[in-house]
Structure formats: C-alpha cells, structure tokens
Symmetry: none
Subunit: 222 residues, 2 copies
C-alpha cells in the first residue's frame, strides 16, 4: 500500500479526491497548506506528493523543493492552461503533472506510473506469515517460495484486490474463468480454494486468511 500526501486547499477536492484514492488502495493524508505539508513531510514517510500549484498560500513550489530534497516523487495538479506553472514545475523536478479538471482514474494511472518509474511501487502484501509480491509474482512464507500454480495465484490476487469484501462465487468465476454462465463446473472454485488454502494457510482446517461466507462466496479480511 503506497502512501500519498495530498496538498490542496480546496476542501471539496480534498474530500472527494482522497476518498477516491483511498478507494483505490492508497493511504492518503491531506495538508491544506505548504507549511503544514512540509511539517508532515518531516514527520512521516510518504511515497509520493500530490500538490496543487495554485495554492493560495504560496504556489506549492516550496513543498515540492522539500519533497525533492527527500527524494520523493511529485505530481502537480494545475489549473488548465497554466503553462507557466507547468514549465516551472517540471523544471523544479516534478515527475508529472495533470491539469484540472482531470478524471480521477487518469490521475491514479499517472501516480502508479510515477511510483513504478522510481521503484517505489509497493507491491508486497503481508497476510499473516505469508508474503505476496505482486510485482515479482511470488508468494512465500519465511522466505521460501510456496509455488502457487497460475490459477491458484490468480485466485489469490482477485481475493486480495477485493480485500475485506466478500466475493461471490459468480464474481470469482467470472473474474478467474471469464465465464458469465456456468461453463466451468461450479465446484472447480471450491477445489481451488481448498488447494490455495492448503498452500497458504498455516492450518488449512481452520483457515485464517481465506474465509468462507456461506451462501455467498469467499473473502480475505485479515
């Protein structure tokens, strides 16, 4: 889970954007001005800085400089057509910029792209004593590979992408086997859950990672 510091003075944008980014799996903190932002940068560890350069308090360049000092990637949010700021921003070492109004999904893909580019994309997820590295495609316990098959891995990823929420059998079938009807035997999923549990659960008889929600499906809420 990557953490973001969002510096923005428009309370509405803060609310909606940070909500959206959280929904996308990021850890988001807000600062409504440069002073506060710089303070937060010093106190905590962030993976990326999103800063609105049309801030009323200063123009956002100070936070940017501070972030750069700490080796943090920066994305600028600009008012549309603010060419001057864009140029200056990129000169300042901003890694990308996006002009308002933008589509949140577009922003997310830019964030991911920047994180990936500077090797900050955190793709390692811990589930109890099991580690899933989605970048490398490896699942391990105590450093030793658990050797999941392609389908087992895919099943784990789908559950992981929806961590905390119940995935119905039909959704899982659809996501993993690309079927809308029932072209694969419904029990196939059951069998795969068993196989996956046998590999990743400490005690497959009493699964702690993958929980069954009877009548609906399965979930990971650890």
């Amino acid at each position: 889970m990557n953490s973001i510091l969002l510096v923005e003075d428009d309370i509405n944008i803060i609310k909606s954007l940070s909500e959206f980014l959280k929904g996308e799996g990021f850890l988001v903190e807000n600062a409504d001005g440069q002073t506060k932002a710089i303070e937060m940068l010093r106190q905590r560890q962030f993976d990326i800085l999103l800063v609105d350069i049309s801030l009323t308090e200063g123009n956002g360049f100070a936070v940017c400089a501070c972030a750069k000092e700490m080796g943090l990637p920066v994305i600028f949010l600009t008012a549309s057509g603010d060419e001057y700021s864009v140029v200056t921003g990129l000169d300042m070492g901003a890694d990308d910029y996006i002009s308002k109004p933008f589509r949140p999904r577009e922003l997310v893909s830019r964030i991911k792209s920047v994180l990936r580019r500077c090797g900050k994309m955190r793709s390692v997820i811990k589930l109890a004593d099991v580690t899933v590295d989605t970048e490398k495609g490896i699942v391990e316990r105590n450093g030793s590979d658990l050797f999941l098959s392609a389908l087992e891995y895919r099943l784990l990823l789908v559950l992981l992408n929806n961590r905390g929420i119940v995935m119905s059998r039909s959704k899982l079938l659809e996501d993993i086997w690309d079927v809308t009807g029932d072209f694969v035997n419904d029990n196939t999923l059951t069998v795969y859950i068993k196989r996956l549990r046998e590999k990743i659960e400490a005690d497959p008889q009493d699964p702690q990672i993958i929980k069954t929600v009877r009548g609906i499906g399965y979930k990971i809420d650890i």
Copy 2:
C-alpha cells in the same frame, strides 16, 4: 444503499441490468424516456443517473442537464465508437461513460468509483448499535461480526433499501423470494423476521430496528 435512476428504452437491457444492479445492492428505478426520467428526478432522491445517450426519444442530454442542475453524478451508456456523443457527454458534465457492450461488473465498478469520488458512496449504515457495511457485506455490533445467513442479509438489505417506508409482506416476498403469487408459505417471512431480529436486535422481544406494522408488513425507520 445507493439509488440509481436508469434511463434506457431497450426493455431487455432495463430488465437484465436493473436485476443485476439490484443484486449488487443498489436500489434501481427505471425510466424508458427522458420526459419520464426528468419527472422522476424531480419527485425522488437518487444518488446517480445512468443514461443511454442513444435514446430514441431525444439523445439523453436533457436528462443529463437536469441531473447536473441537481448536483447528481451522471454516467453515460453509449453505443461503441460513438465518439461524438462521448465528447459532448463529458462536456455536459458526465462523470464517466461506458460503451456497449460492457460487462455489468465493469459498470458496477465505475458506478462505485463515481459515487466514491463525489462522496455519495453509502456503504456503511448505522442502525442503533449495529453497523451494516454493504460494500464488505458485513453486519456487526461492537466490531464483532453477526454472521447473517445469505437470506437474512438479503432481507435486511431490502428493508434497508426502503428505510422509513413500510414494506408489505407481499412486496418483501416478491423482492426476496421472487414470487408474485404465494409459492412460498406466507409464514416463511415471519420466521425470517424472527431470525433476523434474534441476530441484530439488542432485545429481540422488543425490537427497535425492525418494526412490525400490523396488517401490512415491516419497516426500519430508525
């Protein structure tokens, strides 16, 4: 529970899509034309508008404008490759669009994303000391799961979708057991109300959440 107004003139799409969306926990109402849609928008409260811009009656832009006036987010359903409409639609203030044919699940994730973005995502509902998280599919008290069965949960959702208004026994039977006549024993509902109360009410003998409206049905108006 988020409510959706679906504006679409193809009866087949209306049926299948609204059925699917209901299954995803949304409250769905349909309008088969712009005039009716605008009327409905004025009468009731919705959280989001889904509109097919290839409507035979007008092109859907009028409803969109009306929705925007009311601060309602809009998603366009477009015929594939209808780029002109897409551009115009986004200019009109549509929050997203999806082109047919689309996978229903894709639509759902877009809807959720838009709702989240504009802070309208209603997924956590509090009823006295009970919390219902419709996104996660969890009902809990003091952080501990109440483990509702699939049907108990569905019954709770239907009542919740119609919070404040009395649901007649026949309507509940229709919504939950998909029956119009009396294929299920009428008492089945009574029994399930009891079971649900036993799990969610602090004192099942004196229910505070699910109220009985004698002669009609049940309601939640807490």
